[in-house]
């Protein structure tokens, strides 16, 4: 059941007056306080406890958000920025009620693309599907790093939350793809970070870099909307190569899988190298509770690469094969095979191509009402150990092991994501316990959760450098003295 809100937000002003004011800013059709509208914003697919908002507003432009922020700051009413709610971390659940500022419906313009300088300016509501279609149709020489998220998820939210993409093995976290941001601060001030700061009138054609001035962009990366409302982002695009290929590793043992991820990542030949456990792979064929059979491989590794010329692509493939063979030579369990992805698809069925053709809806992930994960940035060295330990926990809780991993930024770090799909009402308590146990194991191995839900950040705050927490709080107080932006996240 959805809980009632804890915060007394309407001391200075009555709720009815708030509604009137919101209607004045956004117009009647774009404001609601009806429970049947609000309930959809009160929860997500994860185990995060639900909370009802009091209002939802659908802004169209920045000026409306400025008015909203000024109003909320005056009366200390929480504002929660929302785009599509697909973060799998309960990050837009309004912990203390207040107003959901849903930018996913009417703030979805692709504002400008600079083909030569390879960046694009987006409003928060622009989705991966929309961006991909736009680039494919109008700028076929350019691409973005697409996430293994549904096409209706927000591009900008993914970047702000240090999400991952199918260019992450090459380029790293999506946080590093940001040239700059436009943000409404708590005092209603509209600012731009990155090189666009260099003009009074905020020009769109000079947003080509994040540095070298004092880095104010970082004030909004990883902060989960607690420091201001981001209204535009300038994001880097990359040239799309003429020749592309995808390989697939069929791997026995977590150790072999982790070695392939790390060494392929370090080869600097791949745009993306990720792995999925056999059970996760089988899920796409529609098994309700996929089980790995005795002789089946433990992990599937998917590799995508490209080259401006056929020779470049072939040279990369040859080098990857060489690395793979060397790893096989050294491996205790030599059952590991590298094949062409297309060949594999032809054998096992087209459903499997969803892992390559992203953004895409991995339907089986969403066909249950519950989905959650402990997604974390992790040590490549510890991935094998973690895979094995986490696998054991899945078995303990009688859940199908759905383990995803990715090599990031040339193998400098990894992402490890044990996922759980579950039936919310029936299995929630069990899943909560399991998530806690997985988190403990991962923190023990120095993993840092990303898109971390509130319950995780509470645990992290207790374990981490206390001075880091103090600095976090200091910056939060500076950026949001009345505590209106997404309160409750990161223990703030």
């Amino acid at each position: 059941m959805t809980d009632v809100l804890k915060r007394q937000s309407y001391i200075g002003i009555e709720k009815e007056k708030v509604l009137e004011h919101l209607i004045k800013i956004f117009g009647k059709p774009n404001v609601t306080d009806k429970n049947y509208n609000l309930i959809a914003y009160s929860y997500d697919m994860t185990e995060s406890p639900p909370r009802m908002p009091d209002f939802v507003v659908l802004p169209k432009k920045v000026e409306e958000i400025i008015q909203l922020v000024n109003f909320c700051n005056q009366y200390c009413i929480p504002i929660v920025p929302y785009v599509s709610g697909n973060n799998v971390g309960g990050l837009t659940i309004p912990e203390e009620g207040g107003i959901i500022c849903d930018m996913g419906k009417r703030m979805k313009k692709i504002v400008k693309i600079n083909e030569s300088l390879m960046y694009i300016i987006l409003e928060p509501g622009v989705t991966f599907g929309q961006l991909k279609k736009f680039l494919d149709d109008h700028h076929p020489n350019l691409k973005y790093g697409y996430a293994m998220a549904p096409p209706y998820a927000s591009v900008l939210a993914n970047a702000l939350l240090s999400g991952i993409s199918n260019l992450s093995t090459k380029m790293g976290s999506m946080g590093d793809m940001i040239n700059g941001l436009e943000v409404v601060l708590y005092n209603g001030e509209l600012i731009r970070t990155g090189t666009s700061f260099l003009s009074k009138e905020m020009k769109d054609d000079n947003w080509f870099a994040r540095y070298p001035m004092p880095d104010l962009t970082g004030l909004f990366i990883g902060w989960q909307g607690t420091t201001g409302i981001v209204t535009k982002g300038a994001l880097q695009l990359w040239s799309r190569k003429k020749y592309n290929a995808a390989l697939m590793g069929i791997i026995y043992t977590a150790e072999n899988c982790a070695n392939v991820l790390q060494e392929f990542g370090r080869s600097e030949c791949c745009e993306d190298v990720c792995s999925i456990s056999a059970e996760l792979a089988k899920m796409v064929w529609g098994f309700e509770k996929p089980q790995k059979l005795k002789e089946e491989p433990d992990y599937i590794v998917m590799v995508s690469l490209s080259g401006a010329t056929k020779e470049l692509l072939q040279a990369k493939i040859n080098y990857l094969r060489q690395i793979f063979n060397e790893l096989k030579e050294k491996a205790e369990n030599k059952r590991m095979f590298l094949v062409n992805f297309d060949t594999f698809i032809n054998i096992v069925g087209k459903e499997f191509a969803v892992y390559y053709n992203i953004p895409n809806v991995l339907t089986p992930l969403y066909e249950w009402d519950g989905l959650t994960w402990v997604g974390s940035y992790a040590h490549p060295d510890r991935i094998a150990k973690l895979m094995n330990t986490v696998y054991g926990l899945y078995k303990k809780y009688e859940m199908g092991p759905m383990i995803y991993s990715k090599s990031m930024k040339g193998g400098h770090y990894s992402v490890l994501r044990p996922m759980v799909r579950f039936q919310k009402v029936r299995e929630e308590e069990k899943v909560k316990k399991m998530m806690h146990e997985i988190l403990e194991v991962m923190l023990e191995e120095n993993c840092v959760p990303y898109k971390a839900p509130s319950w995780m950040t509470e645990i992290i705050r207790k374990k981490c450098d206390p001075n880091w927490v103090k600095l976090l709080e200091r910056i939060k107080c500076t950026m949001d003295p009345n505590h209106i932006f997404n309160p409750g996240k990161w223990g703030l």
Partner: protein, 489 residues
């Protein structure tokens, strides 16, 4: 008139306190010791510090900061003073905290996760030597700075390197920092935040928690004193080569740099006007003759296999030929070492980094307007800067580099000069370059005080307010490097 910074405690008492923290040997107030810290090779106005201290460890810096905060005494972090922006000149006097002499430990290298933890005083030369000798499979990216300049300062100031075309600004190489705050608290940013005590083995990423590392990047030491940094290393490739192009025409040169950068085949693509190239060969006042090329472009390429290296070189040549056909200009691509053999060994300093470019530092003055720039406008900008150099009867020393696969580039107009004879003229020249580059939407890096004053006038006022908010939050008494970015004491 400068404010009296010793209105809360006398200079004598300050000296006593500093000696109690650092020991007599590591504190000085003698003008002969202080003088080198009062100026650099640029046109920035000099100012004497009152004391210099040479810390050995973080605990001493904690005590120093607590003391300075208590009595509002300016504190300027210093390493080697090679920033070419007057960034460590103590605008209001106070204490220079020189970490270059005794805080220069390479604390650890994580070979598997490819990062190094460095104290601020670690130099390029020191770092390269250690990697070459002990970790031959790894490399860092090296700059055109002298081997005695600081690695950490370069990353904090968004410097560039010989891998900037592949990976971008050096700030993107940071996994995290240790910094002492105004309160004396020691904070760690990046993944190392995840434990109460500092574990050296978990400093592998900057994200995904709230990005507090950014509070110290580009801030010129105004938000705290950075005492350690975890920086990314990269695998050293087995096969390496370098190409050199001779290019006629400013716009063509800009195009060559931009297009080669976009191939994603190069570690580094930099261009310099032929006068810079000739300067390397020892000509005192190099000028360009009528038939000489306008620019030399350097390209470094590497590959894990010979096949990969060759495929990259082949593609670079293909792109180069395409530009040649389109532009109709005289441009030639050759092996760098062939050219170096023709021109003399001195020329290889552009490849063997870090190295001292003697001609750059043999005059008493060197300065530049170094900027992050829009690659599309470099052609016309080069032409205009050339004209400005001509107006002032100076050889055009121009430099540019493709950054992060040409998402942006770096542009520099460099001037070496005789400091005490030509200073006023150079100040005028620098102002002209600044106006011109700002007109072209370039943004100066390692920005001197006088430039930030001009920028404050032009830029988005909301951005300035946020800058002020953060500065006030991080350093309410304005003790850290006051005077920079318009934060007057």
């Amino acid at each position: 008139m400068s404010p009296n910074i010793f209105d809360q405690i006398s200079k004598e008492e300050t000296l006593t306190e500093l000696i109690s923290i650092f020991g007599r040997k590591y504190v000085s107030k003698k003008p002969s010791d202080l003088y080198p810290y009062s100026e650099d090779a640029t046109e920035s106005d000099p100012h004497m510090p009152d004391f210099v201290v040479l810390p050995k460890n973080v605990e001493e810096i904690v005590q120093l900061i607590k003391f300075c905060q208590k009595y509002s005494i300016p504190l300027v972090p210093y390493i080697s003073g090679n920033n070419v922006g007057g960034l460590t000149i103590p605008e209001y006097g106070g204490i220079i905290c020189d970490m270059g002499k005794r805080m220069n430990k390479i604390i650890s290298i994580n070979e598997s996760l490819m990062y190094a933890i460095l104290e601020p005083g670690v130099t390029w030369g020191q770092f390269k030597k250690l990697l070459d000798e002990k970790y031959p499979t790894l490399k860092y990216a090296y700059t055109y700075a002298p081997p005695y300049a600081s690695v950490v300062a370069n990353t904090l100031l968004s410097g560039l390197s010989d891998h900037s075309c592949a990976y971008g600004s050096m700030s993107e190489f940071l996994n995290g920092l240790e910094a002492v705050l105004n309160t004396g608290e020691v904070v760690r940013t990046g993944s190392c935040f995840l434990s109460k005590e500092m574990k050296e083995d978990n400093w592998f990423a900057r994200y995904p928690m709230p990005d507090l590392t950014s509070l110290f990047i580009g801030w010129q030491g105004m938000t705290g004193i950075v005492t350690k940094a975890a920086v990314q290393l990269w695998p050293k490739k087995k096969y390496n080569t370098a190409l050199a192009a001779l290019v006629y025409g400013d716009k063509t040169c800009a195009k060559v740099v931009q297009e080669l950068g976009r191939t994603e085949c190069c570690d580094d693509v930099s261009a310099m006007s032929s006068t810079v190239a000739k300067m390397t060969l020892g000509l005192e006042n190099p000028s360009q003759y009528e038939q000489e090329p306008d620019y030399a472009v350097f390209i470094t390429v590497s590959g894990n296999t010979r096949e990969l290296l060759e495929a990259k070189v082949k593609y670079i040549k293909y792109i180069f030929d395409r530009i040649k056909a389109q532009e109709g200009e005289r441009i030639f691509l050759t092996n760098f070492f062939t050219l170096a053999n023709l021109l003399g060994e001195k020329f290889t300093i552009y490849y063997d980094l870090p190295s001292v470019m003697l001609p750059m530092v043999e005059y008493s003055g060197i300065t530049w307007v170094g900027t992050y720039a829009n690659p599309d406008i470099i052609g016309p900008l080069l032409i205009e800067c050339r004209n400005v150099f001509a107006q002032y009867s100076r050889a055009p020393l121009l430099f540019m580099k493709s950054m992060k696969a040409s998402h942006y580039c770096v542009f520099m107009a460099i001037t070496r000069y005789k400091k005490y004879e030509e200073l006023e003229k150079i100040k005028e020249l620098q102002k002209k370059f600044l106006d011109l580059t700002l007109e072209y939407d370039c943004f100066p890096y390692k920005t001197p005080k006088w430039m930030t004053e001009v920028i404050r006038e032009r830029c988005n006022p909301g951005w300035l307010k946020l800058l002020d908010m953060i500065k006030r939050s991080m350093d309410p008494k304005n003790v850290f490097n006051p005077g920079k970015w318009g934060f007057e004491f």
